[in-house]
Each structure stands twice: as structure tokens, then as C-alpha cells.
Amino acid sequence: MKKTILEMNAITKFIFDEHGQPLRGTTVKILEDVHFDVKEAEVHVLVGENGAGKSTLMKIIGGIIPADEGEMLLDGEVITFAGPRESLAHGIGFIHQELNLCLNLDVAQNIFLGRERQKKLFIDKASMYTEAREMLLRLGFDIDPKTMVRDLSTAQQQIVEIVKVLSYDCRIIIMDEPTASLTKSEIDKLFAIIHDLRRNGISIIYISHRFEELKEIGDRITVLRDGRYIGTVDIEDFDYDKIISMMVGRKLGAMFQSSHQVQDEVVLEVKGLRISRNTEPINLYVRSGEVVGLSGLVGAGRTELGKSIFGSRTYYGGEILYMGEEIGGLHPSNLIEKGVIYLSEDRKLEGLVLDMSLKDNMTMASLKRMYPKTKIDFKREEVVAQESIDKLNIVANSVEQICNTLSGGNQQKVVVAKWLLTNPKLLILDEPTRGIDVNAKSEIYKIIDQLASQGVAILMISSELPEIIGMSDRIYVMKRGAIAAELTDKREFIQEKILSHTL
């Protein structure tokens, strides 16, 4: 029986501000009563959907934010970290999902940041470069320590980050989706490192979405869902369906419904549009009452296509026809008036004004239509917002609640409410269910289906294949900025088949 070195009990964390403090008046819990422990020399995998609270839990262990309730024990003693440095001093290293490197420094400078090797008064560059080179080579990576981090690929930067944390002699290393940007051979090397570390008695907390990895390196798997602890299983008991159902909380199939009927009228037609100078032209169409899925890997150009249609990006030639009329290059305000909307994948940056209230956000895209004389009717606004809250089951104290105190799912519903108020005829949805809980997801699917039955044309960009398969009447697959395939037969809507077109 291995010794437990880190234990977390009944951890609760409210939605927090940039200082890690709970937002005023919020009741939204990102983590609720979560249990987690790490044993000596094990790889403990943490899984859960987007928004399940994995990263938040790791931030607490890493000392980046404090827990609001609950206790953390290191070697059986209660401990709190005032900051990431303290956590590191206790032997906990954190390899972040977002890279935390200084782009304007070179590799060695980044590795030794804050503990530069010194020769009397001066920085001892020579020994830093040699040491950095040795560290990289020991792990099997041939990166020149004098290279500026800015000039490295994302994968190489990830490796530098890993090397940096490894160089700290940690007992516990947190890896937050380390393989997301790595290639197959780099992943193999990383796994070799992980096996090595474990052999040397080091524990690893490993966050990942890739199940095939888990069996290869994991010892135990803990599942979080909607900020709650669901359970921990040993790798010997690993069962794909069981883990999925733990993560999702119910079977997937019931989430999708289809009551809409595709009509003949073509609402959107894109002809020969190039999203950049050297990509192939894109041709696609969406009919009234049709849900068209747009699949592809991250970076395949799906968002770029959506934004090109919505006048938020320059594109290179081609026609965008809406009900037969050219709409290319129009300002979003004109498009919204015509009934074209684009729901951004980035809710916080492009979807919502987080500092404003629910009602302000909901009516934002309809100001001109609701108040043609520019005078705001506050009573009417409140009624309209309240109706949306009721209709979409938004959990909020009042229509005046500020959006940044809402949970991700409710925020997304506010964005949806905003667009519904514009009476759209063409919806471009970019990752409409990213980072929201399962219930909110199924409600959004229901709304999409309802809209389609009312004759709205829907182009849905999504990285989640079950969603694409469950919702779409037709699927386009994008690859390298162009359409790689069009699937019209529902019998062809199989994950492996779609994936094969994306690669």
C-alpha cells in the first residue's frame, strides 16, 4: 500500500475574481465538497468535462488561488499556500495548460527565471546554457537553449515548460493537458519521462481528455462533474463507458432531439470563399430549417469562416449570399438587422460584456429594433429580459445581476437569449456548448431544434463529435482552411468516419 502524501477534503470554491477572491454576492460554486488525494509515486489522472472544475482544483493545489472551504493536507499536516512560490517550495510543480513562459527571453533564461546562476555579482550565462542543454538532452529533446522562446513552436514551448518544472526537484507535478499541442513522438517521450519520474518516487497529477493515454500512464482516475467529486477508480477497473457515464451523468443519446424539417429554400450560400491567401476556396450552403454541422480540428479554419461571414474578419475573394443577396463585408449591425447572427466561441471576449447586467447584455443586439427612437424603455426591457430568463431557465437573482457572477452555462444562455431577441433567420453557432454543464447543453440543443423547426437555418461549428452527429442534418468537415468532405447520409455520421476526414 502506497503512502498518501497529499489529501484534499471537502474543498469548495466560489466563482472568483482576478485575485482569487469570491465575487461579491455570488452563489455559484465552481467546486463543491470535492475530495482528492495523491499517493506516493503514482500517476493520478483527473478527468471531467469542460467546466467540471479540474483546472480550478489544480490551481488550489498549485497555490494560485485559495480554497474557500475545506482543508488540504500535505504529509498529514494541514497546509495553505499563499502563492505559487510557496507551493513550489513544498515540492509541488505546476505545468500549465496555457504556457507561462516569457516570450522575449531565451530557453535557458526561462528555465532559470528567478533563480539565475550567479558568479559573484554577475549572471553566469555559460553555466546556465550548459545546464539547460543537459537537462533538455537528458529528456531527449534537442532544443538550443539560446533560442528565443518566441521562435519556438507551441509544442517546443510546452517542452521547455515541462523541463523548467522538472528542474525544481518536485515531489508532485501537476500536468494540465500537457499533450494538447504535442505530436505523437513528443507524447511518447513525455510518457517515458512520466514513467521515469514515477520510478523515482515522484507523483503526477495528470489532466487529460484523451482516454487512450490514460490506460498507458495512469494508476488511478478521479472524475469530477459540475464541480463535484464523482468517484475514483483504479486503472485495472477502467471501463470506457463507465467513465463516460460518470463524467456526463447520463446517457448521451437522450440529449438530442430532432423535430425539425429541412426545407428547400437556401438561406446561406458561400461560393469560392478563401479564408486566407493560400487556402482552397470554400463552397457550402445552408437551407431553411436545416442544422448543418461544421466539423474539423482546432485551427482548420471553422471560426475564421464564421467570422468572415459575419463581417468580423477579412477574407480573400468569393461570394457570401444570404437569401440570394451578397452580404460580404457588411458590418455586424447590418447583418443582425437582416437576421444573420454569429455566436462566438469565445463567450468572455466576444459574446458577453461581463461587467454589465443580464438585461443589458440580452438587449444589446436589439437596441435599434426595440428602441427605434433611441429612448430606452426600462420597464419593457425588464419584462423582455425576465421572459428570456424564464424561457431559457437561466439561474439568476434578478435581471440586474452582473454577468461575471453567473456560471458558464448561464452565461452562455444569456448570449443565446441575446441572439434570440434579434429574431434571427440564419444562426452561425461557434462551439455553442463549450465549457457548460450537461443540463445547459441539452437545453441549448433543444433550443437549436426548436429554431430549426421554425425555419431558421443553422450552421453549427463544433469540436464535439457527438454533438455534431446528434444534431446535424448534414455535415461539412473542414481541413486546412477548406472543406474536406460533405456528409449527407446520416448512416455516414460516425465518429471514425468524420475523424478520418479531419486528419
Binding site: 461579491r24 459575419f310 468580423s312 458590418h331 455586424p332 449591425s333 447583418l335 443582425i336 438587422e337 454569429y342 462566438s344 471576449l349 466576444e350 459574446g351 458577453l352 460584456v353 461581463l354 461587467d355 454589465m356 443589458d360 444589446m364 443586439a365 437596441l367 435599434k368 428602441y371 433611441t374 429612448k375 430606452i376 425588464e382 437573482n397 434578478s398 440586474e400 441575446k418 434579434t422
Partner: protein, 321 residues
Amino acid sequence: MSTTQLLFSEKVRRFVKRNGSVVIFLILAIIASIFVKNFFALNNFLTIIKQAAIPIIACLGITLVLMTGGIDLSLGYTLGLCSITVGLLVKGVGLPIWLSIFITLLVGLLVGFINGILVQVVKVPAFIVTLGTGYIIFGIAQIVSSGSDINRLPANFRAIGVTNIFGLNTTVLISLIICVVMYYLLHHSTFGRSLSAFGFNAKAARMSGIKTERLNISVYMICSFLVAIAAILLTIRVNCAQPTMGGGVYTFEVITGAIIGGASLFGGIGTVIGSVFGVLTIKVLENCINLLNVSYYTYQAFQGIVILLAIIFENVKNRRL
């Protein structure tokens, strides 16, 4: 829960949250009433209001600009340019008064248009744009006036600002009307709402169909337009058109008023009531220093202290309330 059902304490909390400068003003006024001789007198209050009337007009202009997350450092120099413009036209050229005023207001709009275009289209930070245009405007004002003032302006021109209607000075009246118009614009029209959204998150605002490009330019134009009005009234008040009127000190006084009034330098936040009381706070301070017969330098130090206190208050308030 609808707004009409709110508890009284909740209403107070919201009022303080939205109008911190009113609280600061009241605290300062109470302290002054107790400790400063001759402060608590109707005549003194009228003096304060008269002194605040003109800066309030300019302050409302800069409030709009601050709400976009921008700034207008050329404000004080625009004031000088508009002052000398109206003086030259009325006395030097001898144009009809209405035409002189019309042209002066156009000059204000033009300055704002140039600032706005540079900020929006050329995408240079407002701080740098207006720092540059400020110097240019100052230079132009000096050139057209050959560096000299124009005093003893025609009486019928001065009448615009110094007549009393219903016992109120026309300058104060004009300022009041502008406050009302701006209050409607900022808090009851889609313009104000869009401005707030744009200031908080320009990308999301644009993608929600707000014409942010037009909005951004118009804000600088409104600001300079209001500054032109302030310039005309100030010129009348001192009975002298000066190319050096305003300047950097004036710019900062007006920005200070807006900041005490709760406007955020990062955009999104700004209120008419806040800015009005922000300016009033400064003027009360100035008034006390005068009454106490302290030196101007002491006043400046005090002003600094009040600004810092106001900003600390603002921060604490935003966290706690």
C-alpha cells in the same frame, strides 16, 4: 425581484455605489460647514455653483471619452483655441454673434473629429493622439492670435453668459440644460448603453451590432463640442479671449472631476451625477482654500489628497458594496 420592490437599504447601497462622488461631496461640505468660517452661506454656495458651471460642461465631455477607455489630453488647448476663435470672430473680424458662435462650435467639432479619426481609424492610443494634437492646437491658437489676448468684448456678446433669468445666471442655466441633455443621453438612450458596452468590451459590442467605429469618433466630437461651449462661456466670464486659456492644468482638473465622479480610466463606467459632483467637490475644496487664505500650492497638495482619497473610496466601495 423588480426595482420597485427593493428595500430602502438596498436603494441606499445602490445609490452610494453608483454615486460615490455625491457622498464625498457631502462629507467635504459638512466638514467645511463646521470648520471653515463663511462657508455655510447662500452667497458662497452660489459662488461655488457659478465656478463649477463651466468646468462641469467640459467634464461631461471628457466623461464620455473616458467611458470609451480613451482620454482627451488636448481638451485644455481646445478650450484656448475656441476662446481665441470666438474672440477674433466677434471683435477682430466683427462677424455677427450667432455666426461667430456657430463657427467656434464647428472648430470644436473639427478638433474632435480629427482626434476621433486618429484614434479609431489610425488606431493610435488616445493618450498619444491627443497629446500630439494638443500641442498642435496650442500652436495654432498662438499663431492666429499672434500670442495676444483680446479683451473688452462686445456687451451684446457677453450678455449670453452674464444675464440673469429667473434669478439664475445664464451660464449656470446653460450648464444645467447640458447636464439634463447629457443625463438623458447617457442614462436613458441607447447611445449611453452602447457607449458603456463599447468601453467594457469593444469586441463584444461590435459583434452585438453596435457601430463602435462611429460611436468612438462621435464621442471625441461631442467632447470637443462641449469644450467649445465651455470656452465661449469662460471667455465671456473673464471678458477676455486668450489663446492660453485652459491648457494642461485645465485638462487635468476636468479629468480629476470625472475620476472623483467615479469614471473609470479603463472604460465602461461614468455617470452625469458623478461627474457633476466630482467637479463640485473640487470647487468646494478650492473655495475652502480661498476662505482659509491658504496658498495656491497648499491647495494643489490638498487636491492631490482628495483625488487619492476619492479613488481609494471608489475601490473600497466597489469591493464592499
